[in-house]
Symmetry: C2
Subunit: 129 residues, 2 copies
DNA sequence: GTCGTGTTCAACCATGTGGTTGACAACGTT
DNA sequence: AACGTTGTCAACCACATGGTTGAACACGAC
C-alpha cells in the first residue's frame, strides 16, 4: 500500500507466473481456476498473484455467479509506455547535447563565470546502439 | 541469476530509488557517490541498488581511476517496449475477434458483411516503431 | 611509504514475498 | 436441505530484499 503506482505495476510484472497470467488475460478474461490450470500451483497461490495484479491496477475483477473473472486493464500499458518513452527521450536528448559539446569543443577554452557546475560531461564513451 | 531477463528488469525497476537512479543516469553517467547524494541513504545502499541494476543489465560500469561510473544501457528500454507492444497487440487482436463474433451473431441468417460498427472504445494510437 | 577518497564486502536485522495447508463463505444444482 | 464448485482468508514457513554498521580494498595525491 505504500509504493506508488509505477512501483506496484513493475513489481506485479516482475514475476513470471504473473506475466504468464497477464499473457493469458490478453487473450480473454479468465477465472482463477482457468488461470491456475496451466500452472503447477494451488488455486490459492494463483488467487494471491491475481490480488497482486489487481492491487497494482493491472487487472480488474467482475462478478458472475460464483466465479469472479479477471479482466486485463489496458491503461497500465500506457502507464509503462509513458515512463519508457520519457526516459528514452532523455537518453536521446543527452546524446544530442553530447554531440553539440563535441562539435563546439575544438577551441574556445573560456573559463567564464563562476558556474557551480554540479553536473559535468563525462568524456567516457561515444558509442550508441 | 535465477530469473529470466525480463523478470530481473521489471524487478530492478520496481524500486523508486532505483528508478530515480535510472532517471539520473538518463541525463548522464554518474558515480556511486553522485547517485547517493540526492538520496537519504548510505553509499553502500546505493552501491547495492546499482548492483541490482547492473545484474539486470540496466546499467553497465566502467573504470575511471578510483571511480566506477555507471552507464545506462538503452537496450532494456527496447526489451520492455517489445513486451509491452506484444501484449498491446494481443489485446487489440482480442477485441477485433470479439467484434467479429458480435458481427456474425445477430439472428439474421443473412450476414451482410457491411457495418463493422466498432463496439469497443479504442484505447489509443496504433503501431509505433 | 602514508593519507584520503571512492567503492565494495560481510555480517546482521526487519520486513516482504511466494508458496503451502486448512477452514470457510458464496452461489447454483439436485 | 444437502452438495459440489469457486474463491478467499488465516496461519505458517523458507527465503529474498532493503537497509544498517564496520572493515577492507583500490587508487591518486602528498
Amino acid at each position: 500500500m505504500s509504493a506508488d503506482a509505477l512501483s506496484s505495476v513493475f513489481r506485479a510484472l516482475a514475476d513470471p507466473t504473473r506475466r504468464d497470467m497477464v499473457a493469458m488475460l490478453a487473450d480473454g478474461d479468465a477465472t482463477v481456476t482457468e488461470l491456475a490450470r496451466p500452472h503447477d500451483l494451488t488455486v490459492q497461490a494463483i488467487s494471491k498473484h491475481l490480488k497482486v495484479l489487481e492491487d497494482a491496477g493491472v487487472v480488474s475483477r467482475s462478478r458472475d455467479a460464483q466465479t469472479r473473472p479477471a479482466h486485463l486493464e489496458a491503461e497500465v500499458f500506457d502507464l509503462l509506455t509513458v515512463w519508457l518513452e520519457r526516459h528514452r527521450q532523455r537518453l536521446e536528448e543527452r546524446y544530442r547535447r553530447l554531440d553539440e559539446v563535441l562539435a563546439t569543443l575544438p577551441e574556445d577554452p573560456l573559463p567564464t563565470e563562476t558556474s557551480p557546475a554540479a553536473h559535468h560531461p563525462d568524456p567516457d564513451d561515444g558509442a550508441r546502439p
